[in-house]
Subunit: 197 residues, 2 copies
DNA sequence: ACCTGAACACCGTTCAAGT
DNA sequence: ACCTGAACACCGTTCAAGT
């Protein structure tokens, strides 16, 4: 009854938590199932009960990332005002904030998968993010703040710009010091792409 | 004199060529220095003469990717007309074409590096791509086809959109069948972001 | 200068066996 | 159901030694 095994059924969650920590601190190359097991005090074979292989763990990590990012975007919407420009700015700041705060994870989320079967869930998760952008654009069209036309022909380029900016920030192409200051120009450019007539 | 060792000094090049091939065919996870050495008929320790470690090989691969991408973009410029819209479209198509044709490599090129020292060359290479976009925008400003203002406040969002689109195409978020058909909307959106007044 | 061969300390994955 | 321990077939990296 004392010091009973750490995991009474949540080894899976513990593995994910620890894995994300080492992903953040040491990068994806340093992620080892055996080391994870060691850190958590289980045998090196234990993780295989919960993840059929290393890629399955990485996929689960990426999926959790998409869920947290979606939550952050939803949250940004509530905090924003009613104007389209406000909402867009809030969305952009939330996405870029998540990206810079979780660089390695964002990288993992959008990494080319070589098991196309396993990546279905990830692509669906990414599409849900896109759907949020589409919804925002559609509302902007209704209120007249966004030009008319097929929603995805407007929302997709906007979301693409957003992701490209996040990707540059994450990869270091855009220096950390310039991420914040460059945001205004990017948002203004997006608004120009959305503006009526 | 017969069947003399395959490498009279170009093991380095042979490693890079072979590495890119397996990167393309089997993904980055399947890339092993030992297997590379086996395939090329050298001892497993031979690669270390040319690349201090596996990451150095990956970095060299990424750098070569940037050089080829830069060449492709330069080529697109020569094939395009004089109008800004033409040049932009050609640049976009060249970048996206490279991305879809070299998905794993593009991923590698923009991957988060954990050795900041080694990634300087890669960031510089990415900046050279950005400089090409800036030059194009600057010319568009001179000819009056692009609105006035700080060059980078226009060129950066454009380049960001381009890269985001390529990234979505590469990651599979944008289905392969939609990459071509979505390009027109993206280009139109970019032009709107650049248009005067 | 460039490569080999052996050695070291790791990996991921599988599978019988334990509780 | 969940985990262990041993086993297997790999890794990357280093280093004396060869040519």
């Amino acid at each position: 009854m004392h010091t009973r095994r750490y995991h009474h059924g949540d080894l899976r969650a513990a593995l994910l938590t620890r894995a994300e920590q080492t992903l953040r601190e040491k990068g994806p190359g340093a992620l080892s199932l055996r080391e994870l097991a060691r850190d958590l005090g289980v045998s090196h074979a234990a993780p295989s009960r919960h993840f059929k292989d290393k890629q399955a763990l990485l996929d689960a990590l990426a999926l959790a990332g998409f869920e947290r990012l979606a939550a952050a975007l939803t949250g940004s919407r509530e905090a924003a005002g009613e104007e389209f420009a406000d909402r867009l700015a809030a969305l952009v700041r939330a996405y870029v904030g998540f990206a810079t705060g979780n660089a390695e994870l964002l990288d993992l989320m959008y990494t080319v998968k070589h098991d196309p079967a396993a990546s279905d869930a990830l692509i669906t998760a990414a599409h849900q993010l896109g759907a949020m952008a589409e919804e925002m654009v559609a509302e902007g069209q209704r209120s007249g703040e966004v030009r008319q036309g097929p929603v995805d022909a407007i929302a997709m380029p906007v979301f693409t710009t957003l992701h490209g900016y996040a990707s540059f920030a994450v990869s270091g192409v855009l220096p950390a010091a310039e991420v914040e200051s460059g945001l205004d120009a990017v948002i203004a450019y997006m608004l120009r792409g959305c503006a009526p007539s």
